[in-house]
């Protein structure tokens, strides 16, 4: 007869724990101070920020890049000795590996929820970000991704999901417009790598090309692990397009550009942010000359603090791979929201994240009602003398998705009101 007592006891304990872990709205998990009222000796509070990306497996180089950026931002913020809610704040980064596997994505998300992190930066892939976002949402923890571009991520109706990068729709539109208007391409061939990112971007690009009166002569496919593209490029050659667009990453884009040249294709090569890296030029060699790519946001050099960030990052971790600036911004957006709310409590600062108006190193960041980047600007680059040279920025309005005008219009109101309330939000950059 001891058994029922044992069960009920463990039941009660576990229930209490689980409740705490799940961050029931009424209960504040409350690590931070009971002391804001009496600032005699200022207590130091540790604020845990979770970061998730694949650190092993084929995308590990991008994952580590993201983690390094988050780490850099955290170190800078700690050096500033911030005070929030009357307590000295020490930020701590809890970096996790999800191996780009959705199942592991939810396991590490649970780990972060259990660890009562105050916010989460990540994940890197849409495939892990989406299932994990449900856990964060249930726990009321704000999540800002710097790289998950699947539009679905922010359309699930969760209040906690944000992204500081243009989604596929926005970028695909800008790229299509650029191909039709600036390169004056009449015919394009499209390749994608059958990942959520590549396929999403390629679909949007195709729509935009058609909308601008262009013609898609063929759509070809590869995988994110391939190295040989001779067969599809040869087929494309027979269709004689003006532009070859690739939706995918630099590791495939580089060899693809090289094989494109060696097969004697005259078409220009155009790709999205996944290929907009120095890595692509390195892998493609001389064949990269004159090719195009796009990146959400504005070039680092043109942003206040951007060059400084770039120098600091490369001095510490080497070349920026891809998403580092966005992740860096994501950390700042989160911490600025904490400052404005004067609280590190997820429940208290979450509303402030939505009201962000922040000058980041990647772009000016404000969110629409879904938590998507508002008026995401897209910049285009071309390889000149072995380097990506900035060409032009296709600004916000044109890149707005046409598909969802109604919520976007609603979104404008609360966010518009924000700047007035948050002048303190602008970061103190020297």
């Amino acid at each position: 007869m001891q058994f029922p007592r044992l069960t009920s006891m463990s039941l009660a304990v576990a229930a209490a724990l689980a409740l705490a872990a799940c961050g029931d709205k009424k209960e504040e998990p409350a690590p931070p101070p009971a002391a804001p009222a009496a600032p005699v000796a200022k207590p130091e509070v540790t604020v845990n920020i979770g970061h998730v990306a694949p650190l092993t497996g084929p995308q590990a180089h991008l994952g580590k890049d993201n983690e390094n950026a988050a780490r850099l931002a955290i170190e800078e913020l700690n050096a500033k000795a911030l005070e929030i809610g009357g307590a000295k704040i020490k930020f701590e980064l809890l970096a996790e590996d999800d191996q780009a596997d959705p199942k592991q994505g939810t396991i590490v998300a649970q780990k972060l929820v259990d660890a009562k992190v105050n916010g989460v930066i990540g994940h890197l892939n849409s495939g892990t970000t989406i299932p994990a976002s449900k856990l964060y949402s249930d726990a009321g923890i704000p999540q800002i991704s710097g790289s998950a571009t699947n539009p679905k991520y922010t359309q699930q109706g969760f209040a906690t999901t944000f992204r500081v990068m243009a989604n596929d729709v926005q970028q695909g539109h800008a790229l299509g417009e650029f191909a039709a208007q600036a390169i004056k391409a009449k015919t394009v061939a499209i390749i994608d790598d059958r990942t959520a990112y590549g396929q999403g971007l390629a679909d949007e690009f195709e729509k935009a090309v058609l909308a601008n009166g262009g013609k898609v002569v063929t759509r070809e496919f590869t995988t994110d692990k391939a190295t040989d593209f001779a067969a599809i490029l040869t087929k494309i050659k027979s269709k004689r397009p003006d532009v070859v667009f690739y939706g995918g990453m630099d590791a495939q884009g580089g060899p693809m550009v090289k094989q494109l040249k060696s097969l004697g294709l005259k078409a220009k090569f155009l790709t999205g942010d996944g290929g907009c890296t120095p890595e692509l030029i390195k892998l493609a060699g001389a064949a990269a000359e004159g090719q195009y790519c796009s990146l959400p946001g504005v070039p680092l050099e043109q942003m206040p603090g951007g060059k400084e960030f770039g120098d600091k990052f490369s001095a510490k971790y080497g070349q920026i791979q891809l998403y580092a600036p966005y992740v860096y911004d994501a950390v700042y957006v989160m911490v600025e929201a904490m400052k404005r709310a004067n609280s590190v409590e997820p429940a208290k600062y979450l509303p402030e994240v939505g009201k962000t108006d922040f000058q980041g190193v990647s772009s000016k960041i404000a969110f629409d009602a879904n938590g998507d980047l508002k008026n995401g600007a897209i910049s285009l680059y071309q390889v000149k003398e072995g380097k990506w040279e900035y060409l032009q920025t296709i600004g916000g309005a044109a890149a707005e998705p046409e598909a969802a005008p109604a919520p976007a219009a609603d979104a404008a109101k609360p966010a518009e009101a924000a700047p007035a309330a948050a002048p303190a939000a602008t970061p103190e950059k020297k």
Binding site: T222, A231, K235, K237, A251, P255, K258, E279, L283
Partner: protein
């Protein structure tokens, strides 16, 4: 027409690469009846070592081809040592174990090698420096690069060389005896342990060459590159009839051609319903078809019902 010839050339090049890797699989399988799942990882190590050495030599002012050859010369012994160690540690103790046990250790070895490579060479992709002279040949308006010609030639030469080794030399006879029946071979005075070690070492040196050629051709190397390559090569080896050297070559070339022609024409043939994203489906479909009618591969020996 030029497009069709170009596709055939694409297929030949890709197929020769598969064949290069498949030869290593088949060598080991022929002797031990064991799928060396870690072979793809040895290929990766070959590529990485060659690349590292070449990058060290870049400033030396040596001609590009010499640098490349030194890189290759460095990769071969490293891979041989790796292959030797793999056999000693992960396969030899399990020679009499249930059949699937070495498969699991092979998977373990593969995971270990990948992560060691990640610790040593980092997570980034490495570019093969443009040191080899870029010569392009025109064949009926289709293009083939010098490196690609070399790949086809080396694959063919290796296949012939290995066949001669196995059929004509003393060592080859010992290998065949070991493959036939290890315990009887031992009774006949063959040091089977030595023969099996040697087979692994030879297979691994092939892997070094394959890794070097792959990274030279695609100008890319990465700690994860071995997995897909190994998988495709394994498929090729089985298609040809695993354990048979000519079969590995044939299977490799065939798989390359199927993939290339599949990606090139499947879209037009099916009216756009299936596209190049079904390239691998097409390849596996052909494989299944071949095995349904020839259960031991194209040129594989007929295995008696009782193996």
């Amino acid at each position: 027409m030029d497009i069709f010839i170009q596709q055939i050339i694409n297929g030949l090049v890709l197929g020769s690469i598969y064949a290069l890797v498949a030869l290593g699989y088949t060598m080991v399988y022929g002797i031990m009846g064991l799928i060396n799942f870690a072979h793809g990882e040895v290929v990766m190590i070959g590529a990485m070592v060659a690349l590292t050495v070449i990058n060290l030599l870049l400033g030396s002012g040596l001609p590009g081809v010499v640098m490349a050859l030194i890189g290759l010369a460095a990769a071969v012994p490293v891979c041989m040592a790796t292959g030797f160690a793999i056999e000693r540690i992960a396969y030899r103790p399990l020679r009499n174990a249930p059949k699937l046990a070495p498969l699991i250790t092979a998977i373990g070895v593969s995971i270990v090698l990948q992560n060691v490579a990640m610790l040593v060479w980092g997570r980034n992709y490495h570019a093969f420096p443009p040191i080899l002279p870029s010569v392009d040949f025109e064949v009926f308006e289709a293009t083939i690069t010098g490196v690609q010609v070399a790949i086809i030639a080396i694959a063919a030469l290796m296949m012939i060389g290995l066949t001669l080794l196995v059929q004509r030399t003393r060592l080859g006879r010992a290998m065949r005896a070991t493959a036939e029946n290890p315990s009887i071979a031992q009774l006949m005075g063959v040091d089977t342990n030595r023969i099996i070690s040697l087979t692994f070492v030879i297979g691994s040196s092939l892997a070094a060459v394959a890794g070097f050629m792959v990274s030279a051709n695609y100008s890319i190397a990465h700690y994860y590159m071995g997995f897909i390559l190994g998988l495709k090569a394994f498929t090729a080896a089985v298609l040809g009839g695993i354990g048979n050297l000519a079969g590995a070559m044939l299977g490799g070339i065939l798989l390359g051609l199927i993939e290339s022609l599949g990606a090139g024409y499947i879209g037009d043939l099916t009216g756009g319903f299936l596209g190049s994203h079904y390239q691998d489906v097409f390849a596996f479909f052909v494989l299944i078809l071949v095995l349904v009618f020839r259960p031991s591969g194209l040129v594989g020996e007929k295995v008696a019902e009782r193996a």
